[in-house]
Symmetry: C2
C-alpha cells in the first residue's frame, strides 16, 4: 500500500545499535566481585556483545527461541549477555541467585536453559545440582581467573569464548513480539512462574521509564544500578541507560552500604535505584559516618517493597536526596507506577506532600490501572475506596510461560495483581494491603502459605500461621506462630529452622517463633491473620 | 501461545485516555483569533472530543479510513480534532493555510477530504474554491459566532454539532499501523505530496520527543506551541503534552512577537517551540522592549530552518534562554534530531560549544541517519565528509500517499532527505547544504525550480534562476535572476510579481529581481547556482 510508515521493529538490537552509534563514548563501570574496578565504553561493550553473539551461535549451538540462563551479579559482561542473547533471537533468562537451590533447579529445568553463564564466585552454588539440570549443555564462567576449576561439565571461560570470535555479525531479522527475556516470580504461591518479555515490551518499557515523569534519565546522568540484573531485568535500566546515553555503574556483589557510598562518591553517581532495605542501610551508614563531601546523588528510585515515609523524609532532610517511590511486578516488566510531585502539590503542607510521595504513584503511559470490588466491579478513584488492583498494558503479560493458569487474569483482559489499593482523583495509586499470604523481606517475597504448609508437615507441629512483622533492616520478616501436637513436646526454634531450611532459601526461613495454644480463627475457620498481626506485628503483645 | 505480553496497540486513543485518567486536571489555554482567552482541562477536552467523535459518525457520516481536513490555527478545538478524528479510525488532515489557493485546492481534492473543519476567520479563503472541491460533503465552522454566515454548503457550527451529542463513546478497535494523520509537503519540487502517519508512528514519535535528551517535557511544564497545528501535526506536541501531562498554551493567530511575549508572561510558559523567524522576532522585540520581569521561559526548540548561531548566543547571553536546535521533515513525523550539549562538552570553550549547539544534533532512538556518496556508499562520521543525508526509522515514511514515486527512497529502505550533511564522531549531524533548488523562508520551503519555470513562462523572460539570499527576518528569501528575451523590453519587478502571484503563495514570490545579460552556467550547461550564490548571496556583488 502507498502512504505507509517504514516497518521498524522495536528490538533490543535497535537499542544496542543506537547506543553504539550515538553514545559509543558513554561508560559502563563495573565494580567486580573480586573488588577490582573495570571501565569501558558502550562502543567496546557493543563489539564484545557481537563477539558473544557469534560464540553463542558457533561454539554453544544456541538457536533462535532457545533460553539461555545467567546466574550473575551486575557487571559489564552481564549487560553483554542481555543484548547478545536476545540479539540472535534467543531468550535471556537471568536466574535469581537468592532463591533456594531447589527452586533454582526447578526454574532451570522448567525454562529449559541450554547454556548457563555463571559468575565464578557463584559456581559452587550450582555444581551440586548440575547433574539434575536436564537441558543445560554448556556452562560459561564469568569473571573467572585463568586456571579456575569447576566440576561443571562443558565449562568455558567467557573471555576465551569471546576472544575466538569476530566482532562483526549480521543480526537476524526479529519479530518485535518474540521473546527476548525471561524471569521467574519468586514462587510465593506455589511453584515459581515463568514470565516472558518481548522485544517490543522491553523497548517500550525502557523508553517510557527514562521519561521525565518517570526515571528521568538522560545523557547527563551517571546511574548506579543497585537492583540486581537477576531481578526482573534490573527494572529495564540496562536498556534504558543505553537509550538515554547514561553512564552505568554496576556494583556486582559490592552491595554493603559503605561500599555503595564509596562507589557513588568515586563515580559521581547522581541517580540510582534499589529496594528500600538497601537505601535504609545507606541512610543509616551515612548518618553514622557522614560523607566529607556531599554525594552528587540527587534521587534514588525505590521499588520492590513500600518505601517508608520516614526514610523519604530523613534522606531528604538530612542529605537533600529525594526518594522516588515506584511500583511494579515481575509480570509487569516490572514498572507500572511512580510517584513524583506535580505543580498542584507545590502549595501543600510538607506532611501532605510526603503522604503523596509515599504512595506508589501514577501509571505510566502504556499501562492502565483499575481497582475492582470482589465482584469485579470497577471502583471509584477517590483515594478512599479499596479494591483489588488490576493492570493492563504494553508490557504486562497475558499468560505465564508453559502454564494454562488463568487465575491471575480477568476475563476482560486485565492482570490481577493481588494487591489491595486505593487510587485518588489524580491517579495516585496506594497499596493498602496485599494478599494476606505474602511477606516481603528485603525486597524478596516470602510465601507464608508455603512456610505454613511445610511447618505443619513437621511431625510435632499441629498448626502454624506465618505473618509479617516489621523489621528495621529488612522492612519485614516472617514470624511463625506454632501450635504443637502435644504441649509437652520439646521443639526448639533451631529444630524448626533446620526443618524449613531443606525447602526454603535462607532469607525465607523465619527467625522468630511464637508457641501458642491455638491460633485465632475467623468465622469460617480460617487462620485470622488480621488478629495475629494485631497481636504480634502491631505491638499489642509484640516486642 | 503461553508466555506472551498483552496485545496493546499504540493509538492516539491510548494517549487521549491516558491524559484523561492521570492528567485530567492539566490545562489547555487557547488565545483565540478574536483575542479572547479560553482555558479548560484535559478532562473537559476529553469529554468534548468524544462528543466530536459522535458527531463525526452521526451527523457528518465519517467512517473509518475517511480523511477529514482541518484549516485552522492552534487552539483547543483543533486539539479535539486531532484526537476525535483519529479516534474513530478516520484520518486527521491539517491543511497548511499558507499555501497558494491553487495548492490548497489540489491538496483537498488529492486527499479526498470528506469534511473540512475551518476557522471562521479563514472561511473567506476557502469559499471561492468550494465548488471545485470534489469530495467535501460538509463544512464545520470553528470559533464561529452565532449567526455567522458563509456561502459554503452544508456548513455547521462546531459548537452546535457538539452540543447535540453524548460525551460517551465506545472507541473502535484500531490497528496501530493504520493511518491517524496526514500532511502534505509544501510542493517544493512539483506538486505537494501526501504523507500518512500511523497511530504507532505518532505514539512512538511523541513518546520519544518528550524524553530528556529531546524535548524534555514533563507534568511540571507549561508549553507554548508556536509551531502551527497545520505544520506536520505541530511536531507531535499536541500528543506529547498529553502523554507528559504538560499544560499547553495555544496562540492561534496571535503570532506577533509582542503578543507571544505577553502570552508567555501571562501563562508562565517555560518551554516553547517554533521556526527561527518567530524566535528572531521575539528576540528583537525583547531587546527593543525588555520585559519588566524575566520570562519563565527556559528553552525554545527550533526546527524548520537552521537556527543561526548568532540567535542562540544572543538569546542566551541577553536573557538566559536556551535555543535548542532540532531537525526533521514532513516525511519524518517530523523530528529526527536535536542538539543538546553532553557532559563531554562541558570543558570546551564557549565558541566550540556554540558550534555544536548550532548543529542539527543527534538522532533519537527509533531513527537512524547515514550520509552517502553520490554512488550511495556510506560515508564516515568525521564531521568533515559531506554526503546526502538519509534516514530510516519508526516514524519515517516508506512511500507517499497515492503515488508510485520511489525517487525519494533507496533500494535498501532509507529515505533520501535531499540534504547534504556531515555527521561527527559523536553522531551530531550538521546540514551543510541542501538540494540546491530549495529556499526556506520563515520556515516554509520555496522551490526555486518551480519559480524559475513559471518565470520562464512569462513572454518577455528568456532565462530565470532563483537562489536564496540571507534575510534578517525570514532567514532566507528568494532572489530571481532574470535574462530578458530582448534587452530593450520594459519589464518591472511588479510585472513579474503579479505574474507569479497567480500560481504562488504570497510568501513564495521573490521580492528582489536582478536583470542579467546571461546566467552563469556549469560545464554541462546547467545554471551555476553556486556561482550565483557567490555573486549575490554571499556579498561579492550583493548589498
Amino acid at each position: 500500500m502507498q502512504g505507509q510508515i517504514m516497518d521498524y521493529p522495536l528490538t533490543t538490537n535497535t537499542i544496542l545499535e543506537y547506543g553504539n552509534r550515538v553514545f559509543h563514548h558513554k561508560r559502563i563501570i563495573s565494580h567486580l566481585p573480586d573488588g577490582s574496578r573495570h571501565e569501558y565504553t558502550f562502543g567496546e561493550m557493543y563489539a564484545r556483545t557481537k563477539q558473544l553473539a557469534n560464540a553463542l551461535k558457533h561454539t554453544l549451538g544456541v538457536v533462535e527461541g532457545d533460553t539461555v540462563g545467567t546466574f550473575a551479579w551486575n557487571h559489564g559482561p552481564h549487560v553483554e549477555l542481555y543484548y547478545g542473547i536476545s540479539g540472535i533471537g534467543a531468550i535471556c533468562h537471568p536466574i535469581n541467585i537468592r532463591l533456594s537451590i531447589q527452586q533454582i533447579e526447578y526454574i532451570i529445568n522448567h525454562a529449559e536453559d541450554k547454556v548457563i553463564f555463571v559468575d565464578a564466585t557463584l559456581v559452587r552454588m550450582l555444581e551440586p545440582i548440575a547433574a539434575r539440570l536436564e537441558t543445560v549443555r554448556h556452562w560459561v564462567l564469568l569473571n573467572a581467573p585463568e586456571g579456575f576449576t569447576t566440576s561443571l561439565q562443558n565449562a568455558h571461560r567467557y573471555e576465551d569464548l569471546l576472544e575466538a570470535e569476530p566482532d562483526e555479525i549480521d543480526w537476524p531479522a526479529l519479530d518485535e513480539n518474540q521473546a527476548c527475556g525471561m524471569c521467574y516470580t519468586s514462587g510465593t504461591t506455589g511453584l515459581p512462574k515463568g514470565v516472558l518479555y518481548s522485544h517490543r515490551s522491553t523497548y517500550l518499557h525502557a523508553m517510557t521509564i527514562l521519561s521525565p515523569n518517570a526515571g528521568n534519565v538522560s545523557n547527563r546522568d551517571v546511574v548506579l544500578l543497585v537492583v540486581p540484573q537477576f531481578h526482573v531485568m534490573a527494572w529495564g535500566y540496562p536498556y534504558l541507560c543505553v537509550l538515554a546515553g547514561a553512564d552505568m555503574v554496576l556494583p556486582s556483589s559490592n552491595l554493603q552500604p559503605a561500599a555503595l557510598i564509596k562507589m557513588m562518591q568515586a563515580e559521581g553517581v547522581n541517580k540510582a535505584n534499589g529496594v528500600p532495605t538497601i537505601w535504609l542501610g545507606i541512610y543509616q551508614e551515612m548518618k553514622k559516618d557522614p560523607p566529607a563531601e556531599p554525594l552528587a546523588l540527587e534521587e534514588y528510585v525505590v521499588g520492590g517493597s513500600a518505601l517508608p515515609k520516614s526514610l523519604i523524609k530523613a534522606f531528604q532532610e538530612d542529605f537533600g536526596i529525594q526518594g522516588i517511590h515506584a511500583w511494579g511486578m515481575t509480570e509487569t516488566s516490572p514498572l507500572g507506577t511512580l510517584s513524583r510531585l506535580q505543580p498542584q502539590h507545590d502549595r501543600l503542607a510538607d506532611a501532605e506532600r510526603l503522604r503523596i510521595r509515599a504512595k506508589q504513584g501514577i501509571a505510566f503511559p502504556g499501562v492502565e490501572l483499575r481497582i475492582v470490588s470482589d465482584e469485579g466491579t470497577p471502583l471509584p478513584w477517590d483515594g478512599q475506596t479499596m479494591g483489588e488492583l488490576q493492570i493492563r498494558g504494553a508490557w504486562v503479560i497475558d499468560s505465564y510461560f508453559k502454564t494454562g493458569n488463568r487465575e491471575s487474569f480477568t476475563g476482560d483482559g486485565w492482570f490481577r495483581t493481588g494487591d489491595v489499593s486505593t487510587i485518588d482523583a489524580d491517579g495516585y495509586m496506594e497499596i493498602k494491603d496485599r494478599t494476606k499470604d505474602l511477606i516481603k523481606s528485603g525486597g524478596e517475597w516470602i510465601s507464608s502459605v508455603a512456610l505454613e504448609s511445610t511447618l505443619m508437615a513437621h511431625p510435632k507441629v499441629k498448626e502454624a500461621a506465618v505473618i509479617a512483622i516489621p523489621d528495621e533492616r529488612w522492612i519485614e520478616r516472617p514470624l511463625a506462630t506454632v501450635v504443637l501436637q502435644d504441649s509437652s513436646d520439646l521443639v526448639t526454634n533451631t529444630d524448626l529452622k533446620e526443618f524449613l531450611a531443606r525447602d526454603f532459601a535462607k532469607y525465607q526461613v523465619p527467625d522468630d517463633y511464637v508457641y501458642l495454644k491455638e491460633i485465632p480463627k475467623t468465622s469460617v475457620g480460617k487462620f485470622d491473620k488480621k488478629e495475629l498481626r494485631r497481636l504480634y506485628a502491631e505491638g499489642e503483645l509484640g516486642e
